[in-house]
């Protein structure tokens, strides 16, 4: 499978990465090289094989359903590029 330039633009949009027009062609080539590389998997029959969903077979650990963290707004917003009164600031989203 290979991607065309429209697909490259669509993926970039989905990934929320701005791609200038001048870079689309180069990126298309690189992505197609990677997709070409993984094409080798087409030759394997995986019918009836369970996908690996847990690297180490073990039961998912559970914790007590209790509050273990919180009340730490200062620390959480400390690294924000823009914040005010413990809120993260973003451009206007809702009119």
């Amino acid at each position: 499978m290979s991607v065309d330039q429209a697909t490259v633009r669509r993926i970039a949009r989905l990934a929320r990465i701005a791609v200038p027009d001048a870079e689309v062609e180069k990126l298309q080539g690189e992505l197609n090289a990677m997709l070409g590389f993984v094409e080798e998997l087409d030759s394997v029959n995986v019918e009836g094989v369970e996908p690996m969903t847990s690297v180490v077979p073990m039961e998912m650990k559970k914790r007590v359903d209790a509050v273990t963290a919180g009340g730490d707004a200062d620390r959480i917003t400390a690294n924000a590029p823009q914040s005010e009164d413990h809120y993260f600031l973003v451009p206007k989203v809702v009119e």
């Binding site: 990934a15 990677m34 394997v44 094989v49 369970e50 969903t53 620390r75």
Partner: protein, 491 residues
């Protein structure tokens, strides 16, 4: 003492305990070595004040006879580990001057055991790379040079700062992480010892995530015993990481020096790849001979799905990365590039903050997870992981205790030598290491000698799940025969 930095961790530990040297003396020796070694670019942040304060506290504990297992030992920390109050960037511009308000579990255990932090070590951006050239702080220069050559070489990656710093005596040992070979390949390139433990052995909490089902922390150190001592402190269950395994941690160091007589070592025929250099072939043969002399039985084994591991990895790792790296949005922390609306802000921030390799992998990951492609790519790759794991299970069920392979297909290459190549060429560096991550197994890289160019080559030992001890025993046996490799100081 002028050569304190040349001590191994276990040697330094004895001198500290006997109070023949203080942690502050040792720490100061490393701090001045780091200053002299700045042209290697191994550290992205030196923390001398913190180091001296921690060393002084260690000396007080040593005086009171309350020494922890790593008391007073100065370490370098890969910049992927969150360190409270100390800038942590994953060597990406997108994290900017991020200063965590928390400490990763692995590093907190090292400090609990008395270790001292010297600073943060360079790595490939978000650990994506095999040469440390994708770092926003620039490449690390290997302390090794080929015979009669002045060309600067890569120290491997992604833990290139860790491997270079350990090989150049700029720290006693270092933390590292391994998603596809990022501990073992740099260890092999620099003549150091590195282990990627079994998935779940070390907590991933507080480590910048790349591909969550593959990432594991581990140490890079000067000797097998040093590496074992580090892993003992770094390991253990953590309620904050549900994939960390509730299992007691053995004293790994005790396994070093244990007899390997009667152990069955598998040589997988699929690792004899087309075009393998005769030097790598010879190294592999030599490794098997050493183990045979130590009393091991060498048998041929087959891991039929080996060749699919790397392509499957290049689906799983980018897919998980695209999901993990979605958090870098320019809103909560790190870099922010203003935009006309929120989406524009995201897109501009992420375009400016991520380097080319990271952008490429996020895009591929986004594509393979996008509507209509999930089954063809991600699900298929996860099925292949099952087949890869079954290959290993079958070999171990036949009584094989560990598998011996070369760690890398070549010795270290030059800085910028691969930049013109197709990205896939760089990925081939991980051809021998990536299967181990896909199957979640432990893998140890140990020096196997120098090639004709005078550069280190490494052997890899792959073990049963949670049987790192056998790897340390076998690694110790190889180390006895191969000896330690140290570069000549030129910097």
């Amino acid at each position: 003492m002028s050569d304190l930095t040349r001590l191994t961790l276990t040697e330094a530990r004895e001198l500290l305990k006997a109070r023949k040297v203080s942690s502050l003396e040792l720490t100061n020796a490393f701090l001045s070595a780091m200053e002299k070694g700045r042209k290697l670019n191994a550290y992205v942040l030196e923390t001398p004040d913190k180091a001296r304060a921690m060393a002084t506290a260690s000396d007080a504990r040593l005086a009171k006879g309350e020494a922890g297992p790593l008391e007073g030992i100065p370490l370098g920390i890969k910049d992927l580990f969150a360190t409270e109050g100390v800038r942590t960037t994953a060597c990406s511009k997108i994290l900017g001057n991020f200063v965590p308000g928390y400490e990763s579990t692995v590093t907190s255990q090292l400090w609990r055991d008395g270790a001292v932090m010297l600073g943060k070590l360079n790595n490939d951006e978000f650990a994506m790379g095999s040469s440390n050239e994708t770092s926003a702080f620039g490449p690390v220069v290997s302390p090794w040079k080929a015979n009669n050559s002045n060309a600067e070489l890569v120290p491997g990656g992604s833990s290139g700062g860790s491997s270079a710093a350990v090989a150049a005596d700029l720290c006693m040992a270092a933390t590292a992480t391994d998603t596809g070979g990022s501990i073992r390949q740099p260890a092999a390139f620099t003549g150091t010892v590195g282990i990627k433990p079994t998935y779940g052995r070390c907590s991933r909490w507080g480590i910048v995530a790349f591909a969550s089902s593959l990432d594991q922390a581990g140490p890079i150190a000067k000797t097998v015993a040093d590496c074992a001592a580090m892993l003992t402190s770094m390991s253990g269950p953590d309620p904050k990481d549900t994939t960390s395994v509730s299992m007691d941690v053995p004293d790994f160091e005790k396994a070093v020096g244990r007899s390997v007589k009667g152990l069955k070592i598998g040589i997988p025929k699929e690792y004899r790849v087309d075009g393998m250099s005769p030097e790598i072939e010879a190294l592999w043969h030599r490794g098997a001979e050493w183990l045979k002399t130590a009393g091991c039985e060498i048998v041929d084994v087959s891991l039929p799905h080996t060749k699919y591991a790397l392509p499957a990895y290049y689906i799983v790792a980018p897919a998980e990365a695209s999901s993990n790296l979605a958090r870098y949005d320019g809103v909560r922390y790190g870099l922010r590039v203003p935009g006309k609306d929120i989406v524009d802000l995201y897109e501009k921030t992420r375009a400016a903050g991520f380097g080319a390799e990271v952008r490429r992998r996020i895009m591929i990951g986004t594509y393979v997870l996008s509507a209509g492609y999930y089954d063809a790519y991600y699900l298929k790759a996860q099925k292949l992981r099952t087949l890869i794991r079954r290959d290993f299970e079958a070999v171990y069920a036949d009584g094989v205790d560990a598998i011996l392979t070369p760690a890398t297909p070549t010795s270290a290459f030059g800085i910028a030598e691969m930049t013109t190549a197709d990205p896939v060429e760089m990925y081939l560096n991980d051809i021998f290491t990536v299967t181990v991550n896909m199957a979640g197994l432990p893998g140890l890289a140990v020096p196997g000698g120098l090639d004709q160019k005078g550069l280190p080559l490494g052997l890899q030992l792959i073990g049963r799940p949670f049987d790192e001890e056998t790897l340390f025993s076998l690694g110790g046996a190889i180390e006895q025969s191969a000896g330690r490799l140290t570069p000549k100081v030129w910097w």
